[in-house]
Amino acid sequence: MTLGLTDRPGSLLAALESIAVNGGNIISIVHSRDRITGGYVPVSISVEFPSSENVEGARRGIEERGIPVLSMESLERRIETMLIIGYLQVEELNRVFRNRGEVISLTVGGGSRSPYMRIVFSAGVEERPRLLTDLSTLASERGCLLVPEEN
């Protein structure tokens, strides 16, 4: 999000408080002093929030403190876990994940008697349903069972 801060001590701190109480994890802060417009210094802040409700909460809190939010762009991604009862070829998994999500970790266990795969992955909120549908179809075709995470 890009905020319009006045060039006064403490104005950034007020904005950061709203982000903190909404569970935001600040990744970066960039001051653009060379782009002062209308008395405001544009400050771009990259933040990770636990949910979209927290994003809205932070935005409200910042605006209530008299700081304008000049622009905001959110990239919603979820990190979650799934189990596959059985075993799928890694190449097949990669094919399904391509352009839809990212495998963060893959654990294979259970030996040959009761094999399972545990996958921690991230996916965009929009891509997730299609990813899970395709994984479920693949699992079913290979005689495996997909056990996704309940939200």
Partner: protein, 333 residues
Amino acid sequence: MRLVVLGYGFLGRLLVKVIGRYSREELLLAGVASSRGYVYKERGIGPDELTESLVRHPEFREGPPIEMLEKARADMAVILTPTNISTGEPGLTYIRAALSSGMDVVTADKGPLVVAFRELVSRAESEGLYMCYEATVGGGIPIFSLAKQYFRRDRILAVRGILNGTTNYVLSRMHFEGLPLDLALVEAQRLGIAERDPRLDLEGVDTACKIVILANALMGLDKRLTDVEINGITRISSEAMMAAKEMGMTIKLIGRIENGSLTVAPRLVRLNHPLCVHGTLNAIQFRSSLLGELTLIGEGAGSSTVASLVSDIDWILERRGVSKGNLRGGQPL
């Protein structure tokens, strides 16, 4: 009101004891039937007359329960027959007969509702009769009673839950003790939690039946068992359960109704998730347009189911202007 009870197993015996606590003016137990025969007394059966075995009663008559139902002068029939999910019988025939004879119906038998929900509800409505089935889903959890009042002006958008105590017990033992499924099942059978033939539970069919009833009763759908995509827990190994546990999760069998589709499948559930209940507990969550999310938790089987039967009976008594549904005495079960 005059009442007959069809089915004298665990639930039937418990219910008959509780009925003894109503005043005779409110509720008179006229007949009780088991699969072997029945006891029917025009002037009513006293609260202590029946023992564990119906056969020992001096006025016991051998014969099919339908015989009693057809000749009974009764206002309400409580159907507690064993569940058959393929045909709905014998409960389906008994409910049809009771409605044809002008009786309100209370049932704990899922079978007839899974097979012929719309038919039975329409038949009851067209005759101006009540048909209540609180005890068919979630044991003692007040699901349909809540819906009748609380969700009357609301719209239920989705329902999900743990609706089978046997599988939840087995999965809980696998999670907490690291037991393999077959050992956890043997333990559940020894404790009387699981049936001798547990396939309907483990394969998710029992949960699917409950999901069908919920979809038809709460969301106005017309679903059958064949409409449910079912995956049970038989393939869940102790190794897979441990892999879930390492991530702060467990595996639960979840039934779900969402966007018109019905599914039953094992799912990973975080330990702090509202649906994450253990042992024989059931949990059900509604999402509605006005309320948002509401989760109910309770025992899904056993003696608590009688509370649902009593609640249905009281609801009918109240609608018929017989009583406000207060029990006389108040002895705990």
